[in-house]
Every structure is written in structure tokens, then in C-alpha cells.
């Protein structure tokens, strides 16, 4: 697993209180990991903080799964 993927996973485990094994690339934050709309906002903010990036709202809307988040961050993190 890439460094980014493992850091993303750690944030998700911490914020959503889920088991590491549930955090697969296909897992959807809302459908599989029990996140509500506020949790999702918080996750995006945590990614921004951790990777020192800004994720615009229209981009954030497209980040629905763990894999989406990792891909976006790999592309945009400096």
C-alpha cells in the first residue's frame, strides 16, 4: 500500500470509528462505512489538513469511496 493510501486509511479509521479491514478501496463512505453528510465533510477537511491541499467543493462531491480519495490525493498532493 502506498504511503498516501495508508495515511488515508488511518484518518478514516479514526474519524469513522470503523475497523481497518473495512476500509477497502471500493468502500463507500456513506453506504459502507456509516458516514453521514457531516462525517463526509469532516473527512475531506482532514484530508486537506493531512496532505496540505485544498479540495474544492465540486471536486469533493466526486470523492465517494476510499479509492476516490486516494486517487484524488495522489494526483493533487504536492
Amino acid at each position: 500500500m502506498s504511503d498516501i493510501a495508508s495515511r488515508v486509511k488511518a484518518i478514516i479509521v479514526d474519524k469513522l470509528g470503523v475497523d481497518e479491514s473495512e476500509v477497502t478501496p471500493e468502500a463507500s463512505f456513506t453506504n459502507d462505512l456509516g458516514a453521514d453528510s457531516l462525517d463526509t465533510v469532516e473527512l475531506i477537511m482532514e484530508f486537506e489538513k493531512e496532505f496540505n491541499i485544498a479540495i474544492p467543493d465540486d471536486q469533493a462531491e466526486n470523492i465517494g469511496t476510499v479509492g476516490d480519495a486516494v486517487a484524488y490525493i495522489e494526483e493533487n498532493a504536492k
Partner: protein
């Protein structure tokens, strides 16, 4: 309309002297102080360096880790106290009509810890707003009532009462009135507060309201003592299950006592100072007794607001003498804040519980830390100094007064 009778069928507490009703009560009658040096933050530069903190509280005893993160400490105390009370009541939630069950919860301040942490992070940041989406729903003082309703599925009346240090008494009074009027059968009520942080302590310090007796924290809260120099901040929560009498009897519930009456008044006098003759305090006790059709000679115990401030204690004593006349000298009076400190918006809840347990157990908890009589306090009053006293308590009043001049008094009486 015939008013329904209302009884207390469950209790729960998180306090500086115990995180269960049993421990709380045992420490109350033993005269244990909950005060000690502040551990929550570095208080070196603060005028007051001690508080009555809750000890050994683990929110995950009551909530899962994810829920804990979304709640300010005041709401965590609320969830813990409410869960204890529900367990104690033996209510079967499956059999309860959720539309007949409500939650009214008092908090004088709300999530001040969350508020300070979030604002501090913003101010110390780079100017980009990164407020947590949970900032507002952690901070707002109504949120505890919301969380409790979600946990137990109670869909009846649901809101918070905010009247500073009278908040949870107003909550109890409102829940009582709703049941009386037939609007619901069961309420989870009470209040919680968690304001021991830099903003809470610093703010109250600036008002000159808090004791600065740093040399001996456990002796700092000393209501009615000549040397008293202000209140000691506390934290925690208290919860009561109020239930319509017939409903409680029908399910064979354990009944602690009856809620007999409630009064609410205002001093209409000053932002923080009490009326010097205790006008609003006198009226609120009269109002509670009138509401409950209580003969003043049946009042055996008053759990006073008694915060250990120089002016407040005197005004309350004058009010008691004015209202009760000679009977004032026959009753027991005590200020349990001498042990718990002042739980602000949760004070009314934990002190109502002390009053209820005094009725149930026939023991009046003491006003500890008394050593120097104050000539302004009538020495003929029985202020239950230093030692608990055995006494049959038929009716107990719990007084609370809040900054802003809000007064609330709840009357509890032994079940007949």
C-alpha cells in the same frame, strides 16, 4: 382540567464526588469535598487554580468512540447521567409510547470547551476557515436533549432550558408541568455542564465570582461561613426520570417521591447580583409551595442555592426567614455545593437528586467547611453544618438562582 400526579422513578449522576447515584449519596452524607487543583489545563496564570472536576469518567462506558468524538463533554455527561437514570427506572422502552416520552435538558452554557478549541484553532491558523462540521452541533446547548431523544427514540416534547445556574431546575419544572397537563407520560430531564476550561474559569474569575482560596481547595466552598469568598466551579450532570403517577404504578415502578410543585420568578434587579433582600428568592419558594398546595410547616429541608458567595448566601437566608417565619428555625437547610462545587446549569439536577434522596433515606446531607460564624447569618437556623443529620423529610425544596436574576424552586414530597 384535573392535573396528573408526577413522580420520580429514576436517577443518574456524574459528579465531582461520584459517578453513580450510590457513590454520590455516600459522599454527600460523609461530607466529602470534590475540589482539587485544576488538571484540565495549566492554571498557573489564573486567579483560581482549583475546581471540582469529575474524576475517572470514561465516556466509552456509555457511548461508542465515534459518538464520543461528536459530543462536547457536557453532552457526554448528559448521555451518561440519562443512561443511568433510564436503567434505574426499569422502563421497558419497547412498551413505552415514544410520542408520550420527552426530553427536557438544562445547560447554562453548553459546549464552551468545543467553542474555545475551535475558535482558537482558527485564530492561530492561516486565516483559512477550517471549522469542524461538528463545531456547531457539539456546542449548542440544546444538543444534549437531541442526543438523548435519538438514543431512546423519545419523540415527545424536546428542548433545552437555559437560565444559567437555574437551567436544570427549569428543565425539571417544565417536564413536571408537561406531565401534569397530560402532554406526556415520561420525561428524561435534568442538566449537565462542562465549563472547566480557560474560558470558563477565566470568565468567572473576571466577574470576581469565584473563590481564590488556592491554599486549601477542599475547604474553599464554605457557604454561610464568614470567610467565604466565592463559588467553586464544578462540572457533571444529573438526570431524573419523571413519570405520570398512574403510569408508574401500572408498571410497578420503584417510586422515589412525588414532584409536588415548582416555582419560577425573576429578581428583575441586576445582571449578576441577587436582590439584597432576596425578593425573587422568597417569591420563588412561595410560588413553588402555592403551586404544590404545600403547607410551609411540612417543609423539613431546603437544599439552598448557597454558592458560597458573600452576598448570595445572605440574600437567600433572608428570603427563607421572610417566607417561613418561625418555621425557618425548625427545618434543616444545607448547601451541598460545599461538597460538589457549583455545577452551574447542572446544579439544580444534582441538588434535586440530593433532596429526593434526603426524603427517601431520612438523612439531610451537610454544609461542610463551616468554622467561622457570620454575624449576618441568623445563628438560630439549622444549616446542617459539617455533619449529616438524620431527619424524616416530608417535603424538600431545591432552590437555584441564575445570573440574569432567574430563580427556580422545585418541591419534592414523600409519596403517600
Amino acid at each position: 382540567m384535573e392535573l396528573k400526579r408526577v413522580v420520580v422513578t429514576g436517577l443518574g449522576v456524574i459528579t465531582p464526588i461520584g459517578n453513580s447515584v450510590e457513590t454520590y449519596w455516600n459522599n454527600l452524607i460523609k461530607g466529602v469535598s470534590g475540589a482539587g487543583p485544576i488538571t484540565r489545563f495549566d492554571a498557573t496564570n489564573f486567579k483560581t487554580k482549583f475546581a471540582c472536576e469529575v474524576k475517572d469518567f470514561d465516556p466509552t462506558d456509555y457511548l461508542d468512540r465515534k459518538e464520543v468524538r461528536k459530543m462536547d463533554l457536557f453532552a457526554q455527561y448528559a448521555m451518561a447521567a440519562a443512561e443511568q437514570a433510564i436503567q434505574d427506572s426499569g422502563l421497558n422502552l419497547e412498551e413505552l409510547d415514544p410520542d408520550e416520552a420527552g426530553v427536557i435538558w438544562g445547560a447554562g452554557i453548553g459546549g464552551i470547551i468545543t467553542f474555545m478549541d475551535e475558535v482558537k484553532a482558527y485564530v492561530e491558523g492561516n486565516g483559512i476557515p477550517r471549522f469542524s462540521p461538528f463545531f456547531i452541533p457539539k456546542m449548542i446547548s440544546d444538543i444534549a436533549a437531541g442526543h438523548i431523544s435519538m438514543k431512546y427514540g423519545f419523540r415527545g416534547p424536546n428542548y433545552a432550558t437555559v437560565s444559567a445556574c437555574a437551567s436544570s431546575s427549569h428543565a425539571i419544572a417544565d417536564a413536571f408541568n408537561h406531565i401534569r397537563m397530560g402532554k406526556a407520560k415520561v420525561f428524561i430531564t435534568g442538566g449537565s455542564e462542562a465549563a472547566i476550561n480557560e474560558a470558563g474559569v477565566g470568565g468567572f474569575n473576571s466577574m470576581q465570582a469565584m473563590s481564590t482560596f488556592n491554599e486549601d481547595p477542599a475547604r474553599a466552598s464554605r457557604p454561610f461561613d464568614k470567610e467565604r469568598d466565592g463559588f467553586v466551579i464544578g462540572e457533571g450532570g444529573g438526570s431524573l426520570i419523571l413519570e405520570e403517577y398512574e403510569h408508574a404504578v401500572a408498571r410497578g415502578a420503584k417510586i422515589y417521591c412525588e414532584v409536588a410543585g415548582a416555582g419560577m420568578t425573576a429578581d428583575a434587579y441586576h445582571l449578576t447580583a441577587p436582590h439584597p433582600e432576596g425578593l425573587g428568592a422568597a417569591k420563588v419558594m412561595e410560588s413553588a409551595m402555592k403551586d404544590g398546595d404545600i403547607d410551609l410547616k411540612d417543609v423539613d429541608y431546603i437544599n439552598v442555592h448557597g454558592t458560597s458567595t458573600p452576598r448570595g448566601d445572605i440574600a437567600e437566608v433572608l428570603a427563607i426567614i421572610k417566607v417561613f417565619g418561625d418555621h425557618a428555625y425548625e427545618m434543616n437547610i444545607s448547601a451541598t455545593k460545599s461538597m460538589t462545587g457549583h455545577l452551574l446549569g447542572a446544579a439544580g439536577a444534582i441538588e434535586s437528586i440530593a433532596s429526593i434522596l434526603a426524603i427517601r433515606n431520612g438523612i439531610v446531607p451537610p454544609t461542610i467547611n463551616h468554622s467561622t460564624p457570620d454575624p449576618e447569618v441568623d445563628s438560630k437556623l439549622n444549616l446542617t453544618f459539617n455533619e449529616a443529620q438524620e431527619r424524616k423529610v416530608r417535603v424538600a425544596l431545591s432552590n437555584t438562582f441564575g445570573f440574569g436574576g432567574h430563580n427556580a424552586c422545585v418541591a419534592f414530597k414523600a409519596i403517600e
